[in-house]
């Protein structure tokens, strides 16, 4: 039986050359994502801003949105949104946080229940009071940051610090781009989005670690090879694995996206973007080449590949890679070894 070879054997792509394109592109995309975050904003779900979310199935099919709108407008609950959700008789009602603390939110739900009465069946009612919502956002952010720090320490312990730093830069790059994606598509940003972000962090790191593992192995094996060549070989060697793995993950995610239902759609869409698109690109085009600037392997050659690094490129780097302090340190180590 002939087996499928998605990636031909012995590829020799010069991935490192692309850093002259990939770094500026990533820098621009990251800036765009940050601008999007500040000027377009995220569509914060009620988990983080408080308020009420009611999903109803109307007895009328399809739902009479105009009538619903006028009914709820009559309740004087301030700003609200109606949204068709999945089936034509399924409607999502979002009511912004009511002034007057936690008890006011409960009162609002009661008003909606009374007003809609028997014309609908309730599929879901979620109420988040102000005292919880602020907490959830800060817990989520703390969780995300502490996960990154914990992983960083692990990588530092397992590899050298340059690898940990490189992985972190790649990681932050992934998060920034994914947040930009969330802002652009205006998907709900709620607790599950934080879970999605963390999984993306985990997956992207997983990928980066696999390549770094190979780079470390190569560093031990080839003491005289130039850094870009060595990185190219490592990335090419793991290329088939990266692509096969991401295709299988994409299969799982595609199934979730198509059949997993409305409730987790924003979660899977975010994951698809973060894991499959950004994660793969990052580990190949950002996490690996950045090791050159962080001075990995410079010690072996006494900085011999320095001419390979054009100075104008260092200015165009998307993230601070601090090549300056790392060089003297590695040079010192080189001297010690001799």
């Amino acid at each position: 039986m002939r087996l499928l070879r998605i990636v031909p054997d012995n590829t020799r792509f010069d991935f490192m050359r692309f850093r002259r394109i990939s770094f500026p592109i990533s820098a621009m995309l990251s800036i765009a994502a940050i601008l999007l975050y500040f000027y377009h904003g995220l569509n914060f779900g009620i988990d983080f801003v408080g308020g009420t979310l009611v999903e109803v199935q109307t007895k009328a099919n399809p739902a009479d949105l105009a009538k619903l709108r006028s009914t709820i407008t009559g309740l004087n609950l301030g700003e609200f949104q109606l949204q068709q959700f999945g089936a034509p008789d399924d409607v999502l009602i979002r009511i912004s946080e009511q002034p007057g603390g936690d008890t006011a939110q409960e009162a609002a739900v009661q008003k909606v229940r009374n007003a809609l009465g028997d014309s609908v069946t309730y599929r879901r009612v979620e109420v988040v009071g102000p005292s919880v919502s602020t907490e959830l956002l800060s817990y989520g952010t703390i969780g995300l940051l502490s996960a990154i720090v914990a992983i960083l320490f692990y990588l530092w312990f397992r590899f050298e610090w340059q690898f940990a730093l490189g992985a972190m830069i790649a990681n932050v790059h992934d998060i920034v781009l994914t947040v930009g994606f969330m802002s652009l598509t205006h998907v709900d940003f709620d607790l599950t989005s934080i879970a999605a972000l963390l999984t993306i962090v985990g997956y992207s790191l997983n990928d980066t670690v696999v390549i770094y593992d190979r780079i470390r192995e190569m560093l031990r094996r080839y003491k005289r090879m130039s850094m870009p060549d060595l990185l190219n070989i490592s990335v090419n060697a793991t290329l088939s694995r990266s692509i096969v793995t991401h295709l299988t993950v994409a299969c799982s995610l595609l199934a979730l996206l198509l059949f997993g239902g409305q409730a987790i759609r924003s979660f899977t869409a975010t994951m698809m973007f973060g894991v499959v698109l950004v994660g793969t690109y990052t580990s190949v085009f950002i996490a690996s080449p950045i090791l050159i600037y962080l001075g990995v392997g410079a010690a072996r050659m006494g900085g011999a590949e320095e001419p390979d690094t054009p100075p104008e490129l260092e200015a165009g780097q998307p993230a601070p890679s601090k090549p300056a302090p790392s060089r003297p340190a590695s040079a010192r180590r080189a001297r010690a070894r001799r």
């Binding site: 008890t103 989520g140 670690v209 096969v244 997993g260």
Partner: protein, 531 residues
């Protein structure tokens, strides 16, 4: 890497089988499972988002706990100083302390001694902590008593414990099935009731403190006067049932609801109006008898949650320890009040800070959607692995299938709750488990290309790939662990399945896949590797 002793192989297979077997109870009805031995009954619980139901997060008002503690200290000070016959002025609650001024300097020492007895040493798990319940300071006759932080925290903890107990009783009285009531953090309580679709009545029942007091009506001035000027120091103005109705009520409590032993809804024999009949315990009955004997002809008030339910005049001493509360109730109100009185008062008011109700339709849809996604995802992955790696792809598929079964086994052992994000976690774990196999096979391919013999290449492929698998899985596991500790609700469910999935996929990659390949090599003695 490819050699397994017979014992080792048996141990691996038995472990995998045993873990998978723990998943069995999930496939039987509750009745059948009940006949299993105890240790085999554990199974996965469906989360409220899948089976439908209502979940309320309640916050205990800790300010009230502090305030009540201060009030109690204030009352104690009055009692102690009166007993010691020490004259004082300006007894008041200021900020977080009680201050009192001792009039005569020569009394200060006696007062300090007597008040010092109010401060109890605090005991922790390891005996005395060296801290006391009150910090007492003296500035030339001005004595300040401040409840210490550990003592207050102790009180708050007790208040939350007590609230949980009372909520339990109230929820049981409502006849709800399998409610789960647990503490969340320091001062919150999570109440989950599967199958409940409209939590309105539950919210009403939980939202009432149900603090019932019997107090005297203060007749020294009218309520209107009290509102305009200032009520006497030991009285307060409370609202009545009707809008605008006010009463001036003494702060001193004759008998409290804590002394009630029973309450039942009923009807007044003369007016046929719904009422609540109650009965005091012997201490309560004695206190009530004394109070009514002393105050014949005067009105007293039945105060519920700082609202006057009724204020009847005492016609004759009530000695039997029984009574009734009437206050223009509907039948439902009388019923609810009886439930509340039987269950007892909450030590502090509760606020609902988060509500989440899922109807059965949505839950059913979510389960179906999750199942569909799992089948389609698994189908795609199995097909893809087979066309990419052929026979080895089949081995991988077996390992992944065992892996999923083991996830369910471990989740059953933990009696974990399966939520929709949890299902997403399992589907993603399938991706991770596949990745382990992909790493191994790609490495074997590489080793073959490097010119090794088949068996050599397989051996080297496993050795090299397993180090990478360990590193990459540990990083993902760290992310899952942090998610578990920092996350709440849906995020936690996701973290649990992801974490468990990583562990089981590590197990299958390190043992099962290797074992299958090892046996295949031993039986077929291949010259080339078919991948």
């Amino acid at each position: 890497m490819l050699f397994f002793t017979r014992w080792k192989a048996a141990a691996i297979l038995l472990t995998a089988l045993a873990v998978c077997l723990f998943a069995v109870p999930n496939f039987f009805s509750d009745k059948t499972v009940a006949r299993f031995p105890d240790w085999a009954q554990r199974h996965i619980v469906l989360g409220l988002d899948l089976q439908g139901g209502s979940s309320l997060l309640l916050q205990v008002d800790t300010r009230v706990v502090r305030q009540e503690r201060l009030q109690a200290v204030n009352d104690d000070v009055l009692r102690v100083l009166r007993q010691a016959r020490v004259p004082f002025t300006g007894r008041a609650i200021q900020g977080g302390s009680v201050v009192v001024h001792i009039t005569r300097p020569e009394d200060v020492k006696t007062a300090l001694d007597k008040l010092g007895e109010l401060s109890q040493p605090l005991t922790g798990i390891l005996g005395s902590t060296g801290q006391r319940s009150l910090d007492i300071s003296n500035q030339s006759g001005l004595i300040t008593l401040t409840p210490s932080d550990p003592a207050l925290n102790d009180r708050i903890r007790q208040a939350v414990d007590q609230s949980i107990e009372i909520i339990q009783r109230r929820v049981n009285e409502l006849g709800l099935v399998e409610p789960s009531i647990q503490r969340e953090g320091v001062d919150r309580i999570l109440v989950q009731v599967p199958g409940l679709q409209d939590p309105t009545r539950l919210k009403e029942i939980l939202g009432k403190t149900a603090k019932l007091d019997f107090r005297m009506v203060d007749l020294s001035m009218t309520p209107e006067q009290a509102v305009q000027t200032h009520p006497p120091a030991d009285s307060e103005v409370l609202d009545g049932q009707k809008p605008g109705e006010k009463y001036l009520i003494e702060k001193r409590v004759l008998v409290s609801g804590a002394d009630l032993v029973d309450a039942a809804p009923g009807f007044d024999q003369r007016t046929n109006e719904p009422i609540v009949n109650f009965r005091f315990n012997s201490a309560g009955a004695r206190k009530f008898a004394e109070a009514t004997q002393q105050n014949v002809g005067k009105p007293f008030a039945i105060v519920l949650d700082n609202q006057v339910v009724s204020a009847p005049v005492i016609r004759e001493p009530i000695l039997g320890g029984q009574g009734q509360i009437s206050g223009n109730f509907t039948v439902q109100q009388a019923n609810d009040l009886a439930i509340l009185l039987r269950a007892g008062a909450l030590p502090a008011p509760l606020t609902i800070v988060q509500e989440n109700t899922v109807g059965p339709g949505l839950g059913q849809d979510s389960i179906l959607a999750g199942e569909h996604a799992a089948y389609v995802g698994a189908g795609l992955v199995i097909f893809f692995m087979f066309v990419t790696y052929g026979l080895f792809g089949l081995f991988a598929n077996i390992a992944v299938a065992v892996n999923v079964a083991m996830i369910f086994g471990v989740l059953s052992m933990l009696s974990a709750t399966l939520t929709l994000p949890g299902i997403a976690g399992i589907v993603l774990t399938v991706g991770i488990a596949v990745d382990s196999n992909v790493l191994i096979y790609e490495r074997i391919r590489e080793e073959v290309r490097a010119g090794r013999t088949a068996i050599n290449a397989i051996d080297a492929g496993f050795t090299r790939a397993l180090a990478t698998i360990l590193d990459s899985n540990i990083t993902t596991f760290i992310a899952a662990a942090v998610l578990f500790y920092a996350g709440s609700g849906p995020v936690r469910g996701f973290a649990v399945t992801l974490g468990v999935g990583i562990l089981t996929s590590l197990f299958t990659a390190f043992t099962l896949t290797r074992l299958i390949v090892a046996y295949w090599v031993r039986i077929w003695r291949p010259r080339t590797v078919p991948i």
